[in-house]
């Protein structure tokens, strides 16, 4: 489903990703952990082309994009767009569109990108709202919702494009602890339904319970990867152990 080969990315002169390889099969949930600044966000942003990698190759759902330079031709831009449609992204800061209602937020992309009729896209939006437990907020504006509710709408918005893969970049970090569970519940449900997901998070309990595989990122490389029991109970590397004990103390 996802194949990443030797992904390299630098900002200015500093190299952030040092040739990352990653492969993930359909329905697998991967939790990405690692210290701050190690390149987790950059990795996700490269996957859905918000950043163009300097080198390497990304394949998602059969669509392959090579790193190197921003898309120049029309075909390259079209390819980039198709890859993005395959990979839904949920941001730490929600990034809902404040001038649109909840339903409009969700229905916008299907209507504009896929040309779904207004009636169908709205029906789809309401269906997804029900799924994240917010059917009664359809007509509200994002500014009228709590953080947890906003993040659930953001998930519904990404799901509306029917992506093959969902990428979550610290979806609960901006939330008060008591609001995190309602978002994590939605993530659990998606995992159970067989969605292919990469979740960057510091929620270790979620990782233990739901991850098929945990990947420990350090200094722009995959340092260690394996099933949660192995990473949490028997980490191979000293750095991993250190990181886990730090997170546990928090």
């Amino acid at each position: 489903m996802i194949v990443v080969e030797s992904l390299v990315k630098s900002y200015n002169q500093t190299r952030v990703l040092h040739g990352v390889d990653h492969a993930q099969s359909r329905g697998e949930t991967v939790v990405l952990i690692g210290p701050s600044g190690c390149g987790k966000s950059t990795f996700l942003r490269c996957l859905n082309q918000l950043e163009v990698a300097d080198a390497g190759r990304i394949t998602i759902g059969g669509i392959t994009v090579e790193g190197g330079r921003p898309p120049g031709t029309k075909e390259e831009r079209e390819l980039q767009r198709r890859l993005r449609m395959c990979a839904g992204m949920v941001f730490q800061s929600f990034n809902l569109f404040p001038h649109l209602t909840v339903v409009q937020n969700i229905a916008l992309a299907p209507a504009q990108v896929k040309g779904v009729s207004p009636r169908d896209s709205e029906a789809l939006a309401r269906e997804l709202l029900a799924k994240v437990g917010l059917e009664d907020k359809a007509a509200a504006y994002p500014g009228q919702l709590s953080g947890g509710q906003q993040q659930r709408v953001a998930i519904a918005r990404a799901l509306a494009m029917k992506p093959e893969v969902m990428l979550f970049d610290e979806p609960t970090s901006a939330l008060d602890p008591e609001l995190r569970d309602e978002v994590l519940r939605v993530l659990r449900r998606l995992t159970e339904e067989g969605m292919t997901m990469i979740v960057v998070t510091h929620e270790m309990q979620f990782a233990r319970d739901m991850a098929d595989r945990v990947v420990f990122f350090d200094s722009g490389r995959v340092a260690e990867a394996g099933p949660p029991e192995q990473i949490f109970e028997h980490p191979q590397l000293e750095r991993t152990r250190e990181f886990l004990s730090k997170v546990a103390k928090r």
């Binding site: 990034n95 504009q112 494009m161």
Partner: protein, 484 residues
């Protein structure tokens, strides 16, 4: 009464300006050297030096008073108010000895006999008399005898110009069929031009005199005496001949007898508002039409510019940026002149209204583009990223996500620009548009009621801009449903 009013505005003056002139050893005379040949104009060979028959006459008068003469440059149609403010001692610049002028200010005995002349393009049918010009576009100098005579004749499509050079240029550019102007100017500018011709005989002769403040009785007497001597000893004739403006009619100077001057009467335009307000309102309609059309052009062009900058690549982006910088870095006045007088040289001939809309609109477009850009840049990056991540194109993201949010932010600065435009639009009078401020200026010139007309004009401007401001507030509030 008048003395008190002018004394407040001007610098402190001695009891009579004549004393002041003698004390400082210098007389200051007001004139307009812009397009002022053969009266007063910069010497083509040595532009820092002023020449002209009035220039030499001023020197001759100063010699008679035992002082030096110094020219104070002032826009021609504002000479009388500037005199009353005390900017200079007297006006010596083709000021006609009309009953109106004699009521407002003190007028000396004449130093020159002028007449009116019709000028046309050489290849055109000749118009020998004003009656031949009915329905034709005809240019005259603002507040001149020509304007008064042509207005009285009626039926002409009159265009009012700030200077004669501009009207003659528009005649050549075929915006006008004829220009009516003082004979000396026609002789100086139009006669040597092979494409123009003096059409029909001179008509409506009259006198030029020197204008002084009404209370300067001693100065007036001294000037009268000096002029009389200069006429008698043929100094005036010698000077006029030098500039090619002497003709047989000048003999009338010697036979001049001053008529009794009618007593001055003050007009209160406020009391007579039913007469003046409609005239001002007609000017206001032009101001509104102009501002609304120019703003529409600015808002749309500004959007195109900002999209070129945000979505475009290399050259397009560079072009949009260059446009904004050049327009913002050059005066609107020059831009208007280039559009109105410059474009005809390359074959694009716009009427004054179109040129005004284009000039104001393209100028404000630069400022609107900057407003939009500031608005777009203040929308968090996450909005664009979330849109792109959903598969929207950059254009779709701008159109559906960024611009609608930026719209609310740019309403206040755009409204401010619109209100500023109402007021800025008065500058287009330089390309012969008669809008509210110009109507005010013309009425004030003829009634001298600057205060009454000023209050009415200001009230009209306010009545126009305040609703625009209220509308903007309402719109801004209506679009603010995303408050947190």
């Amino acid at each position: 009464m008048l003395a008190g009013v002018t004394g407040v505005a001007g610098q402190t003056r001695a009891a009579d300006t004549l004393d002041a002139i003698q004390q400082r050893g210098e007389l200051r005379w007001g004139a307009d050297a812009e397009g002022g040949a053969p009266y007063v104009y910069p010497d083509p060979d040595k532009p820092e030096r002023m020449v002209g028959f009035e220039c030499e006459l001023a020197d001759a008068l100063a010699a008679k008073l035992g002082v030096k003469a110094r020219l104070v440059q002032n826009q021609w149609d504002q000479l009388v108010p500037a005199l009353q403010r005390g900017n200079f001692d007297f006006i010596l610049n083709g000021l006609e000895l009309t009953p109106e002028n004699r009521q407002r200010i003190g007028m000396s005995r004449p130093y020159f006999v002028y007449a009116q002349q019709i000028v046309t393009r050489r290849e055109a049918v000749s118009f020998a008399r004003l009656d031949d010009l009915k329905g034709k576009p005809v240019g005259v100098l603002a507040s001149s005898v020509a304007q008064r005579i042509t207005e009285k004749a009626g039926g002409l499509d009159l265009r009012i110009y700030p200077g004669n050079v501009e009207s003659l240029r528009d005649l050549k550019a075929r915006r006008l069929d004829a220009v009516v102007l003082d004979l000396p100017i026609a002789l100086h500018y139009a006669k040597p031009d092979p494409t123009l011709t003096l059409s029909g005989p001179p008509f409506a002769p009259g006198f030029y005199g020197i204008g002084v403040r009404p209370e300067d009785k001693a100065l007036l007497a001294a000037l009268d005496k000096a002029i009389e001597e200069l006429v008698q000893d043929r100094t005036v004739e010698r000077i006029c001949r030098k500039y090619g403006v002497w003709d047989a009619t000048q003999d009338r100077l010697r036979e001049y007898r001053p008529d009794a001057v009618a007593a001055s009467q003050r007009i209160s335009t406020l009391r007579e508002w039913p007469k003046y307000l409609p005239l001002l309102l007609r000017g206001a309609i032009t101001t509104v039409e102009l501002s609304v059309l120019a703003m529409a052009l600015a808002v749309v062009t500004g959007l195109v510019l900002v999209l070129m900058r945000v979505l475009g690549f290399g050259p397009l982006r560079w072009l949009a940026r260059g446009y904004v910088e050049v327009i913002r870095g050059t005066p609107l006045l020059i831009q208007l002149f280039l559009i109105y007088y410059g474009l005809p040289e390359v074959g694009i001939r716009l009427n004054a209204f179109a040129a005004a809309v284009l000039g104001l609109g393209l100028n404000y477009a630069a400022s609107e583009a900057e407003n939009y850009r500031a608005g777009i840049e203040s929308i968090p990056r996450g909005q664009m990223e979330a849109s792109l991540a959903l598969g929207l194109s950059r254009w779709q993201a701008l159109r559906h996500v960024v611009l609608p949010q930026a719209l609310r932010l740019v309403i206040p600065p755009v409204t401010n620009d619109f209100i500023a435009m109402f007021k800025d639009s008065s500058i287009v009078s330089v390309i012969t548009m008669v809008e509210l401020t110009k109507v005010y200026g013309m009425l004030a010139m003829s009634t001298y009621d600057y205060i009454g007309l000023g209050l009415m004009t200001a009230a009209i401007y306010f009545a126009l801009s305040y609703p625009a401001s209220l509308f903007a507030h309402w719109l801004e509030r209506r679009l603010r449903h995303d408050r947190r």
